[in-house]
């Protein structure tokens, strides 16, 4: 026994609550003007007053439309046991007219213990439907048609919708049609005849905001006092939980979560993950549990793949990126190898591997879908000659390099240098999409974007910096010693060019 058991039990209770939609959405049933009460009123008044009705439930996915509908139908079945029969159709499966009628007949037969024949034709099925509607009308039984993915029923000629809604126009039948859809303009998709017969009641399901969200989280996570858990444990747990919920950090976490997806389903997945991280020894939930649940919800699969890459694979990715920046025509394994060799020659790195090792690494990257072939045509050619393209962006490579512990400094330098564009128009291409300015990286743009010719004398120093680096990297096969000589020469060249422009007679090609 001891402390272990209450914590496990508490975990089980909370997890089973999170997986039970009727518990979650029954929270909303206490408000008098919530969608639950409105829907309940519509359906129960249709049943008791024996009149026909139709209603449309709209809202983004994961907001609980079907869960609330199920709750309401359960309640109604309890209150009026023999007066309701429910037929469920789904637009993904039954949007074809024949299929839908067959399914309706099958479900009606099931409800009323009749024999269903698969050989029945379309005419037979529709006759059966009409006569069932009449019979149920006489017996004061209401048939509730639930049409999920309602917008898919509106494709084509909408015969099923027309026949259902037309049957409801007569006194002898008693039916309710409930359409569930996530498209906001689902009723605009209806034909005008069908739209005229539809009663235009719409219930909008929206994700909960602010205070409602807070009370929902309390409702889910606070342990009940009448369970098998010891009382002192429950009160301690609840007190600690209330503290956490009032904490600013927790509110910040929930806010970040809601920035991309604010539906209830998303929140429930997050809470489930957080509860699974609960420390069973101490027996209480803490803010760290919630923090550690965030990455499991906001997964970035490419980053995780990059984290596990070997150094050689990272080299290959960086080489591909540089080839892309240089706008070379062909990017295949051979050109990558050339680029790789040039980096090795420039920086004298120790990571130089043989060609067949690199080929293995290349194939690994293909398998992991970080790169892929340009087109599917060249199956006959070997992998070395087919053109490849990157499937991840510059920004993601940069992030991945940072998160990879074993990444050599050379690659960082190379990627940082990618920030300095060769020509001014590169700035527009790479600017907005590739620079994470808010992270305070040192990829500053303005000064280096000025073209060489227009620079005045005073900005020469940083200008010099740029040309030095480019000189060092650009020349293939040159060692740093050569690079330094070239630096001196290029500096003197550019300086002298400026002098010539501003003071002395201008020479078109100045060679020192």
């Amino acid at each position: 026994m001891g402390q272990e058991n209450p914590a496990e039990l508490a975990q089980i209770i909370i997890r089973s609550r999170l997986s039970n939609p009727s518990f979650i959405y029954s929270f909303f049933s206490q408000f008098p003007d919530s969608n639950y009460s409105k829907l309940k009123y519509i359906l129960s008044s249709s049943v008791t007053e024996a009149c026909n009705n139709s209603v449309l439930l709209l809202g983004p996915r994961g907001c609980g439309k079907i869960a609330v509908l199920e709750l309401v139908l359960e309640e109604l079945l309890k209150e009026h046991p023999d007066m309701i029969s429910v037929i469920k159709l789904n637009g993904l499966l039954h949007s074809d007219n024949n299929c839908a009628l067959k399914e309706i007949s099958r479900q009606l037969c099931l409800e009323h213990q009749l024999l269903f024949s698969k050989m029945a034709s379309f005419d037979d099925n529709s006759q059966f439907l009409l006569s069932m509607l009449r019979e149920c009308g006489l017996a004061h039984k209401t048939i509730v048609f639930v049409l999920e993915e309602f917008d898919l029923f509106t494709q084509g000629k909408q015969r099923l919708l027309y026949s259902l809604l037309d049957a409801m126009q007569s006194v002898s039948s008693q039916a309710v049609v409930v359409g569930v859809s996530c498209r906001l303009d689902a009723d605009q998709l209806l034909e005008k005849r069908v739209r005229s017969r539809f009663s235009h009641r719409k219930l909008l399901f929206l994700p909960p905001s602010g205070k409602d969200l807070h009370s929902l989280v309390e409702h889910i996570l606070l342990l009940p006092t009448d369970s098998r858990l010891p009382n002192d444990y429950t009160t301690a747990f609840n007190a600690k939980l209330l503290n956490i919920l009032a904490d600013e950090k927790f509110k910040g976490i929930i806010d970040t979560l809601c920035y991309s997806d604010s539906t209830v389903g998303h929140l429930l997945r997050f809470l489930f993950s957080a509860v699974c991280h609960m420390d069973l020894k101490s027996g209480f939930i803490s803010v760290e549990n919630f923090k550690s649940a965030v990455p499991s919800i906001q997964r970035q699969p490419k980053m995780e793949a990059l984290k596990d890459c070997s150094i050689l694979e990272l080299y290959i990715l960086v080489c591909m990126k540089r080839l892309e920046v240089k706008e070379t025509e062909l990017c295949n394994f051979n050109s990558i190898m050339k680029e790789y060799k040039s980096i090795h020659d420039t920086f004298q790195t120790s990571d130089y591997y043989a060609r067949n090792v690199c080929l293995r690494a290349f194939e690994h990257l293909l398998e992991r879908a970080l790169i892929s072939f340009e087109d599917n045509r060249g199956h006959g050619q070997s992998a070395e000659f087919r053109p490849v393209k990157l499937l991840i962006s510059w920004h993601e490579i940069h992030q991945g390099l940072k998160s990879n512990r074993g990444c050599p400094a050379v690659l960082h330098k190379l990627m940082d240098r990618e920030a300095f564009p060769k020509k001014p128009q590169d700035l527009k291409d790479m600017g907005a999409s590739s620079l994470p300015l808010w992270q305070g990286s040192n990829a500053t743009l303005p000064t280096s974007s000025l073209p060489q010719e227009a620079v005045g004398f005073e900005s020469t120093p940083c200008h010099w910096n740029v040309t030095a680096d480019w000189a060092a990297v650009d020349r293939t096969g040159s060692t740093p010693m050569h690079g330094r000589l070239l630096v001196f020469l290029s500096v003197s060249f550019s300086v002298s060019k400026n002098i010539f422009r501003y003071g002395l007679p201008y020479r078109a090609t100045g060679r020192p």
Binding site: P32, H200, R201, K202, P207, S260, S433
Partner: protein, 492 residues
Amino acid sequence: MGPKRQVIIIRKWHFVSLSACSLDLVDPLCITYSALVNSIMVICILVDVEQLRAVKEALHVSTAPESVVCRENEQNKILDFCKDCIKQEKAGSLYMCGCPGTGKSLSMEKVKEILVNWANEDGVQPPDMVSINCTSLVNTSEIFSKKRHDRSTSSLQLLHNLYSQKQPPGMKMILVIADELDYLITKDRAVLHDLFMLTTLPFSKCILLGIANAIDLADRFIPKLQSLNCKPTVITFRAYSKDQIISILQERLRALPYTVFQPQAVELCARKVAAASGDMRKALSVCRSAIEMLEAERRDPISDFTSSSLERNEDQQMAAAREMMTNQVNNMVRIDHVAAALSKTYKSPVVDTIQSLPQHQQIILCSAVKLFRQGKKDTTIGELNKHYMDVCKSTLIPPAGIVELSSMCRVLDDQGILKLGQSREDKLRRVSLKVDGADIVFALQLVLFLDLYRQRPLSKLLQLLQWDEYCLVMVPTTLIRGYIDHRRQERC
């Protein structure tokens, strides 16, 4: 004590109530005056609920009224045509057209009844009536087999032969009513032609009445008939005007002894519906929703009443009962109920949904609006991503990566706000806006107004969109003040 029946007379109405049942539950031994007042109130409420229920039933679309008002002209024309054809034993075709909800099928039912009565009175043989709804036909040529009440496949040929020869004089006329005739339109329009041609054969005995929505169906789809000089007579059912709607509603409510609607409320409903579409079903549905609003309003004070009535003292109860009994207006549907019902029917849920979207999706919509302002109509996800990053940069929010962006675009496409095209690569899928840019700006302005103290980056977003170009929403200052106070209270 068993249940007692008490007869209470209030004004002109007689109420028979089982009020003693409720008194039994409270206090079986003593029926005090306050308890009596209680029960009176409950009775009032109960009976009013019954009244409202009856009114709702009278206003339901499926209850057919005894007399069809405002369609007498059209009905007379149809009747005259049918009577002519039957008397002269001649075939003919008639085409009825009009918008949905204008009483075409309803008039047909009435005409059928009247015809049978007239035929019986006049001693003429009543025709066989065949009513077909063309939506239930799998194959368009099934209509002919329906006419002959058998399933032979060459019914058209048989009918053709039948009508080309002279028959024995005792043969009855057939009156065929084909509803939703445009479902029979195929590419080669053969079926429609054949159907109407059957009435032009020399010895045909078939009177065809077609119903559809398009005014020019006869001209567009069966031009051949004009050359044969047997174009069908066309009767147009115009959309209802405001006065017609009012008279129809009053006709339906005339059967009930009490008035539930204020006259201005009925007029508002009729005016709005006539301006929008002239569809009678809409008007009936709006009236029923207005009654439901009234019921909802009355339900909340009731629950307060019955729960707390025991604690109140007698004087308060008497005053409340008197108020309930004398206040007639409370029981009627007023203009505000009808206005609320109209706004529920005609309002689109777009603005509400945009207001409740998560922040990143709102930013995506803003960047799309900005992008499309320069005259382009669609763009790719890659372009949208660039603009999205720009907007995020200037509002200091960390942006989501392109994978998350494309999944958020897919969510917006699901909801019908954006439209995504197909492409092999994710970045090249085409994106276009389905919602008007002005709606998006309006929705975000409202969010800004209601969140004045939170200082969200939305203000910067809207600055980007240069929202001072659009005229600001004229939100009344009382509303703003109310919200500011509300938020102040929340913070304390």
